[in-house]
Amino acid sequence: MKKVLSLHHIFIFLGALVLLFILAPLLGIFLKTSPVSLFETAKETEVRDSIWLTIWTSMTGTLIFAIAAIPLSYLLVRKKFPLKKLITGIIDLPVVIPHSAAGIAILGFVSRDSLMGKIGSSVGLNFVGNPAGITIAMAFVSIPYLINAARDGFAGVPERLEKAALTLGASPTRVFFTISLPLAWRNIVSGLILMFARGMSEFGAVIMVAYHPMITPILIFERFGSFGLKYARPVSVLFILISLSVFILLRSLAKEKNVE
């Protein structure tokens, strides 16, 4: 007697549908884009500038905010303090609020008549329509990914190891840099990569703060709006390819560091 479909088979079938759902559109866009058009697009200065701008603004935001975000993650894991739950909730806010609304909020925060804007102006820096503004908008929406990953990393470091280091005469600073940070490093690197990736793909928040200079997601939107799908496609494919290669590169670099 043959068994009807087992639960296991049903799950495999459903899983395959999900995979197809992710891969089919990507495959479609690649198949519909000719290598020639891709090559032509890659030669355009506007495209190249925008991709480069997207990469470096996101990278800058990730690195600058990491300096404060990693210690915060450590505090959240190791210390007990009032309103900790509330703070944890606040950190997740950028993930749950609509990003265009977040963009409006950031715009209010950095525009010329705001306090931040005034401080910026005094040193000749205008956030609106400027890479600095783009960096802030990208960091705003992507920082929860870093904090949460780093928090998981620190939570996985046994507190006893830190205590042991303290009894061996190490100062809390040395304990953090020689024990906690290296042991949480794998998760922190994942968090950095996630934050960087999320920042690069941001559209809604950035467009409110800076339409120009144009990051690639906005460039894709503009080409689609002005010239249609056919013109938006090569830029999209190019951006996907570059994003993927950057992440593969970063991941493999991080792996090598861990093996060593």
Binding site: P158, T167, L168, G169, S171
Partner: protein
């Protein structure tokens, strides 16, 4: 040298209650107690990892209660070793040399000589994940000893080792102690306490309940808890009464046990070792002044004979050989006579 003065600390469902004791220079001090008695917590208080609610810790006369952990010069070896998994054995052992004014070569020599003392010189380039439990234990000891702590705190160092390794590490610890290292060692194993310590304190429910040399603690356990803990099974609270110049211990106001003691009448406790009791089928005349009849309720094989538990109105544990079990044909339910000398009974005044 190391003095604890009325250390108290409250935790949910657990507390240390005015713990005081004094470890002299060169002592091998054993802190004996069951799991959950607060031993590890006490070590963390001494090391400075936990602040006590009340009380003070003194080291060489200096109050170190609020001193920074890294300035205390107290070495702590954790029960699970707490070896840094991302560092090599050499880096682990040399971790505390960071601030020392030694050049690279001097540091390396120091690591080597400490590793040699503990017999792990050949492990220096290994990763902790490739080491056995016994090896990790030695790395942890080396890592702590290299900083020449004034007091070495050991948290159940033998608990996770098998019998052979235990004997090895015991002799290693004796060697370290002989070299003048003051040691405070916590354990739940009384044999370990007996074989290593020159002083013992017994801790129960966050309180020190007895302190003394191993002889004092094991020969004259003051509390039922200590008695059970050190393996004395016949331990009774008694009222000592005097009749015609003879002393009797009255257990639960029903059983009269003849005791040889000079202590005046009053309350106290009575200890009788199982091996001092002999059993017979019939009442027999002997020099033993204590003779009772009772029924066997349990027969338990032990490592050094067989434990026979009899009910003579109170539960008595007798320890006899397997051979005697057979010759007397003892089974559960047998009715037997028990005999023991008045001089075998120890009375300790409250």
């Amino acid at each position: 040298m190391l003095k604890l003065d009325k250390i108290s600390k409250n935790f949910p469902g657990f507390s240390l209650n005015a713990v005081s004791f004094n470890v002299e220079k060169g002592d091998y001090f054993m802190l004996l107690g069951e799991s959950g008695a607060g031993k590890s917590m006490l070590l963390e208080v001494i090391a400075g990892l936990v602040q006590p609610d009340k009380g003070s810790v003194f080291l060489e006369g200096r109050d170190i209660t609020h001193e920074k952990i890294q300035q205390r010069r107290i070495g702590l070896v954790f029960q699970d070793h707490a070896i840094f998994p991302h560092l090599s054995v050499m880096e682990n052992i040399g971790y505390s040399l960071h601030g020392d004014k030694l050049n690279h070569k001097q540091k390396q020599e120091k690591v080597l000589s400490t590793a040699a003392l503990l017999g792990i010189a050949e492990l220096l380039h290994r990763r902790p994940s490739t080491l056995s439990g016994g090896e990790l234990q030695r790395v942890a000891l080396a890592r702590t000893l290299i900083q020449q702590p004034l007091v070495l705190l050991l948290d159940e160092p033998l608990a996770s080792l098998d019998t052979l390794l235990k004997a090895d590490l015991r002799s290693m610890l004796r060697k370290i102690h002989r070299q003048g290292q003051t040691i405070l060692h916590v354990t739940h194993d009384y044999e370990e306490a007996l074989s290593l310590g020159n002083k013992i304190a017994v801790i129960d429910k966050g309180k020190i309940i007895q302190e003394g040399t191993p002889e004092e603690v094991f020969r004259f356990p003051k509390f039922e808890f200590v008695a059970h803990f050190v393996g004395v099974k016949n331990f009774f609270k008694v009222r000592l009464i005097k009749e015609n110049e003879a002393s009797y211990g009255l257990v639960e106001d029903k059983i009269r046990i003849r005791i040889e003691t000079d202590e005046p009448a009053g309350k106290g406790c009575l200890i009788l070792r199982g091996e001092d009791i002999f059993l017979s089928k019939e009442m027999m005349q002997s020099s033993a002044l204590n003779n009772f009849s009772g029924r066997v309720t349990e027969i338990i094989p032990a490592s050094n004979g067989v434990e026979v538990i009899l009910d003579i109105g109170i539960r008595i544990h007798a320890l006899i050989t397997r051979e005697s079990i057979n010759t007397l044909d003892i089974t559960e339910g047998s009715v037997l006579w028990i005999h023991f000398k008045a001089t075998a009974v120890r009375f300790i005044k409250d």
